[in-house]
């Protein structure tokens, strides 16, 4: 398998279709023959990121590069940015609205889950400008 790239645009207007990009990535990875447990790690991490994009940043763009060694995911948004990254990484900390919580999210587990399921994660953010999250999942089982 050589390098394979895909890009997804995340619509920030419609919560009901949030997760569509992660679902599409799952199918791509299945078609490429990636191991199921690796697919789960990559798609759950991306799904949490995708949900965050919709909840906090009015959508964004996700680029994924798949190589024989790793799945490299970049989530980019032009949202409000994260004022305190270490606080945002704390399990249970959330700035989501009650409306989002009623939909089953905003429990403050998004970023911790993303870190849990990836082998590398880096957050670059600037208040008022946006956030980029880079994640790597190694494909070796």
């Amino acid at each position: 398998m050589s390098s394979f790239k895909v890009q997804y645009t995340v619509d920030g207007e419609d919560f009901s279709i949030a997760g569509d990009a992660s679902r599409k990535l799952k199918k791509v990875l299945q078609n490429l023959g990636v191991a199921p447990q690796i697919i789960r790690k990559a798609t759950v991490a991306m799904y949490e990121g995708e949900i965050n994009m919709v909840i906090h940043a009015d959508g964004g763009v996700i680029d994924v590069e798949i190589t024989p060694e790793k799945i490299h995911i970049f989530l980019r948004d032009k949202g409000p940015g994260i004022p305190n990254v270490s606080l945002a990484m704390t399990e249970g900390y959330s700035t989501a609205s009650d409306n989002v919580r009623e939909l089953g999210f905003g429990a403050g587990m998004g970023l911790p889950n993303m870190q849990k399921y990836t082998d590398y994660m880096n957050i670059t953010t600037e208040v008022g400008v946006g956030t980029t999250i880079e994640m790597i999942v190694n494909t070796a089982v």
Binding site: S16, R23, R40, Y47, L103, G106, M109
Partner: protein, 112 residues
Amino acid sequence: MKLKTVVGLLDAKVLGSSYDDNKEVLAACGSDLMSDVLAFVKDQALLLTGLVNSQVVRTAEMMDMKAIVFVRGKVPGDDIVSLADEAGIAVLSTQLPLYISCGKLYCEGLYK
């Protein structure tokens, strides 16, 4: 535990077309918080929830879950059932509350 047993224990109604009597689940997770579900790593799992929206199906799909039980008499709309069918996830609905549903399944051996 086979889904047929789950249906019997919870007196559940089967929705959609992905149900199979012999489909087996090895673990279960009961929650209305999808991020908690996403932190739950078990193979061939069953999700029990009182939350009804498309993200329940998306979450189950990302976690490779085999079936969803909507508790407290919640019945998902056709759009949600169709989404689950596309993902091959069985959909059940029970009148029982979440606590009782989990308890019944646990007592019958679904506690991996």
